[in-house]
């Protein structure tokens, strides 16, 4: 027992990197009981004291909605009160087309956006992976849309794509291509994809460009001397070396894309076959105020994201460790 404790203490000391624990010693050598402040900022407790605010926030802001949703997912009713219905909500959900259609659509949007962003991003990164005049200026300019509110950008695009007065349609008209009904129910979803891709391809471009710049030059030099074609070099050298970055981009973008809400509000508001998962939960909760069913949908969304979250977390930690080596 005593020995086990000692090991534990040594372990902690090893972690901190202190062989002889001066800080604790100095406190006890005062010859009196340490004050509350001294105890709290001692080696043993300080790391937990630092976490108190975070743990409080997590308890309130994570546990509360979670318990609320789980509890109400077994119940039925609105704001006035709910009654227990066991698994009925879940059974309804499994057969509910108005859930599965947005669900499939969300996956579709996520896939389309990520593939397009990666392709466009990779193309531009390859194009700009050399020294040219004003390269820093141009790379900085491309980053500009990234931090702008998605809602405002979607409003601007809605205006640009307006059938009669929108600039894009007027341009197409002048070029004799003809106006396009961008918000037609057949293509509205893809228009929204386009807006999202437009805002986020600079992200892929910049990440991949940073990756390309850090690749070892001599390997590519050797491949060139050996006379391998540029497509072969790209496939066998560039792509494998960039794959960790591609994984990170894919995971992070997935995380943002399954949460897509703002561009819908700025454009179609869920009409014309564009309703996505979060919009559907929003509508159930805040338009119909169907507390029970909304909670069930919310739990489902959470379930999907937790699986995804575990994947992302492992990749991020791995990348952080690799970057620190």
């Amino acid at each position: 027992m005593e020995k086990g404790r000692g090991n534990k203490k040594e372990e902690i000391d090893d972690m901190v990197g202190v062989k002889n624990n001066d800080a604790t010693l100095s406190v006890y050598s005062l010859g009196r009981k340490p004050s509350a402040w001294e105890t709290l900022s001692s080696e043993k407790y300080f790391k937990w004291v630092l976490l108190i605010p975070l743990i409080l926030v997590l308890l309130i802001f994570m546990l509360y909605p979670l318990i609320y949703c789980i509890y109400n997912s077994f119940r039925e009713g609105g704001l006035q009160g709910t009654i227990f219905v066991a698994l009925k909500n879940y059974q309804v959900m499994l057969r509910d087309k108005s859930f599965w259609v947005p669900f499939r659509r969300t996956i579709e949007v996520t896939a389309i956006c990520i593939i397009c962003e990666l392709l466009i991003g990779m193309g531009i990164a390859m194009l700009w992976n050399r020294d040219f005049k004003g390269q820093n200026l141009i790379r900085g300019l491309v980053l500009l849309p990234l931090l702008v509110a998605p809602l405002i950008l979607s409003l601007v695009w809605n205006f640009l794509l307006e059938y009669n007065i929108g600039f894009i349609n007027q341009l197409l008209n002048v070029m004799h291509i003809g106006r396009v009904k961008w918000w037609d129910s057949r293509i509205a979803l893809y228009t929204i994809c386009g807006i999202t891709i437009w805002q986020w391809f600079p992200f892929s471009t910049s990440v991949l460009l940073a990756g390309l710049k850090s690749l070892p030059r001599d390997v590519f030099e050797a491949a060139r001397v050996d006379g391998s074609s540029s497509w072969f070099t790209f496939r066998k050298l560039t792509l494998p070396m960039l794959s960790p970055l591609i994984v990170i981009i894919t995971l992070l973008r997935t995380m943002w894309l399954i949460r897509l809400f703002d561009p819908l509000y700025g454009t179609t508001r869920g009409a014309v076959n564009t309703e996505l998962l979060d919009w559907m939960v929003y509508r159930t909760a805040f338009v119909y105020f169907d507390v029970g069913y909304a909670s069930t949908l919310a739990i489902m969304c959470l379930f999907i994201t937790i699986i995804l979250g575990a994947l992302i977390f492992r990749q991020l930690i791995r990348a952080l460790n690799a970057a620190n080596k």
């Binding site: 937990w48 900085g140 990234l146 007027q170 940073a210 805040f286 952080l320």
Partner: protein
């Protein structure tokens, strides 16, 4: 051979120019529209879309006919308030995670998973709670919600910055007789100041841009800028002019931040995994 490389160069610059036009065009359009008169906005004549007599009418209408300044103030209060709260929570936590790996990774994972927590999932429980305790349409309610969705991001980003601080430095300070708290305050914090600034600016921007919570939890009193701007797109009439003017002002801080934080944007957006 030489002719070919010049040709390649021209192609390169044409493609680069097209990329820039596509990226910057819509942003520029906000500012063009903001200075157009109502007639010029609604015109069907193509040439008038680009060549027009600039006017400040839209801004004048925005300032007088709509509660623009109070919305701007609301946005400022909620962004700054939530960022301060986030820092109080995240700074010590991130340091603890980075130095002692407190909780063996599980706690850090729990923290980051709040970021994956769908906003709409949390919205309903909080809406009902806030209704009961009277936090709807109050600044403090919005500040708390913004803190909630920024804390995980800030903690993780700061975690990366704290890990860059060499542990030897802290050992030296320990031997010199510094207490743990003094080491944190006097030695570690100044070293990660650039990281703290980056994180804080990101938190400010996320809160500045936030729409879902702002839209659901405010009516008149605490209504921030994004919600005001979205309200110009009514179901009956669209107020293009004031909308563009409002967007022009609302977007400006994020554009400036994007320009001056170039070096850190990628690091921030990838939670520190890619050091751009």
């Amino acid at each position: 051979m030489k002719g070919k490389s010049i040709f390649k160069n021209i192609i390169f610059w044409i493609i680069t120019a097209i990329i820039l036009i596509i990226v910057l065009g819509p942003l520029l359009w906000i500012y063009l529209t903001a200075f157009k008169s109502a007639d010029d906005i609604m015109t069907g004549q193509f040439i008038k879309q680009v060549v027009f007599a600039p006017t400040l009418d839209n801004f004048r209408r925005l300032f007088t006919a709509f509660p623009f300044f109070s919305s701007l103030l609301n946005t400022l209060i909620t962004s700054i308030g939530s960022t301060i709260l986030v820092m109080i929570v995240s700074l010590p936590a991130a340091y603890s995670f980075a130095r002692w790996n407190t909780g063996g990774g599980h706690l850090l994972f729990t923290t980051i998973s709040t970021r994956m927590f769908p906003g709409v999932v949390a919205a309903l429980p909080f809406f009902i709670l806030f209704q009961k305790i009277g936090l709807l349409d109050k600044h403090i309610g919005l500040i708390l919600l913004f803190m909630y969705f920024n804390v995980s991001f800030a903690t993780f980003l700061l975690y990366g910055f704290f890990r860059d601080v060499p542990v030897e430095l802290e050992q030296a300070a320990l031997i010199d007789g510094y207490g743990r708290f003094d080491i944190f305050r006097r030695i570690v914090l100044p070293l990660v100041l650039p990281g703290i600034t980056t994180t804080a600016v990101f938190c400010l921007i996320w809160s500045w841009n936030e729409f879902l919570f702002a839209f659901l939890f405010t009516r008149n009193v605490a209504r921030p800028l994004t919600v005001l701007i979205s309200s110009f797109w009514g179901s009956i009439e669209v107020q293009y002019g004031p909308m563009a003017a409002g967007a022009a002002i609302g977007v400006l801080p994020t554009l400036i931040a994007a320009w001056f934080m170039q070096r850190y944007i990628i690091r921030g957006l990838t939670f520190g995994a890619v050091k751009g």
